[in-house]
Symmetry: C2
Subunit: 241 residues, 2 copies
Amino acid sequence: MPLYIQGMPPDGQPDNSAGLVQRPARLEVVPAPAVRRLSLYLRELESLLGGGQETISSKDLGNALGYTDAQVRKDLAYFGQFGHPGIGYRVKELITRIRGILGTDRVWKALVVGAGNLGQALVSYRGFLKKGFEIVAVFDNDPKVVGRRIGGATGVEVLPPDRLADTVRERGVELGILAVPADVAQRVADQLVEAGIKGILNFAPTSITVPDTIPLGSVDLSVHLEQLAFRISTSSVTTPQ
Amino acid sequence: MPLYIQGMPPDGQPDNSAGLVQRPARLEVVPAPAVRRLSLYLRELESLLGGGQETISSKDLGNALGYTDAQVRKDLAYFGQFGHPGIGYRVKELITRIRGILGTDRVWKALVVGAGNLGQALVSYRGFLKKGFEIVAVFDNDPKVVGRRIGGATGVEVLPPDRLADTVRERGVELGILAVPADVAQRVADQLVEAGIKGILNFAPTSITVPDTIPLGSVDLSVHLEQLAFRISTSSVTTPQ
DNA sequence: GCTTGTGAAACGTTTCACAGCA
DNA sequence: TGCTGTGAAACGTTTCACAAGC
């Protein structure tokens, strides 16, 4: 599934040398894997910034994550010219740029459906906010859980499912996180879409379908363990060239 | 990172028509994305089995997950000939085959490091066992948490970090799941490797390095939300050709 | 009819290699 | 010298299209 994004002109003078006609914004194709790596570059850069490092080369950034220097440069070049020949990339500048590209230079409101163990863990996780995500509500259909507070003093109250739609609308929630059992995941997803959610991250161990205008991500913990099991099982039989 | 696995001969008569010389097992290359999809096929098939369905075509299996029929057939064909022309795939048979391929036709012992919210959620998750994974121990360095029981009656006791190595060895633990803060993830990974763990799944929001003999998976919740944010942000500018 | 398995073609992604710049 | 940005080549993956089988 290739991703088409509207290309932005490189820094500095826009190339209008062709003359009088305004050049239409290039339509460029960004490989989905490149966008995934952008998140990892950002994470690494934030760590470097904490360590006080001011610049980094594509070689060092790649090495830290197991990619080649060419891969790093190519990935970044899809979005513009951020580097400085002879110097590398300025850490602070690149962080700002990548946040702008990913859209996390502002705070996204998210809600969690399902206040089981995983739902509680997601609501309690302190790392989301500095990444640009704020969990503003959590829902559960168990009356014994509704009304309870999750996430300590600054936490949120568990709401009943019938509050879902109005919460999305009134609070401007854009992201829905599904931490419900597999058998209700599709139904909840439908409700979220109906309520006007803009994207869904599904932790339920089942595949769900949404209109293809709604970006959908999914994380299945068992699937990740299975992939490990496969790689361990076959590594004894493996000949990595 | 291409994956090389030792190809298995198709069902029935091994092709030894070339004559007297024993044909060496073909070394075949399986795309990593194909292996990931195998897990999804398995999940879908298990759901179909629960619904009583006996056979399924590559077309229907693909449709359920958003893939083409050719993709499904190709993926499965990397590992052998499991289908029946005119019929499709027998659900029960294919489940057995895929489990055999992934290595989850037996139970893998896993441990969790970190008994915070996420660690507790992982230990408590009831779905792992029927997928072939058993969490046999959980560790935490907080003395207030050590000794506590997690996961109810059948749960496990939280152990201190100094019990890590002997637990891996004595109980034959093969998989390590990291649910610790980023700043200790690498250190814990090193200890797990030192103790003889065979694979690691990292939930800490940082990249870690392990010897390349040790398969490593990683799940960063913020990264998944970032990818959603990007897709939402760009979808207004998107022309999915 | 409907279905699989599979070479070959099409397509997508990564790596190479080097011009250009600090 | 060291580094980026980028076309072109190499490589990997998916789709096509069809022979063969139920």
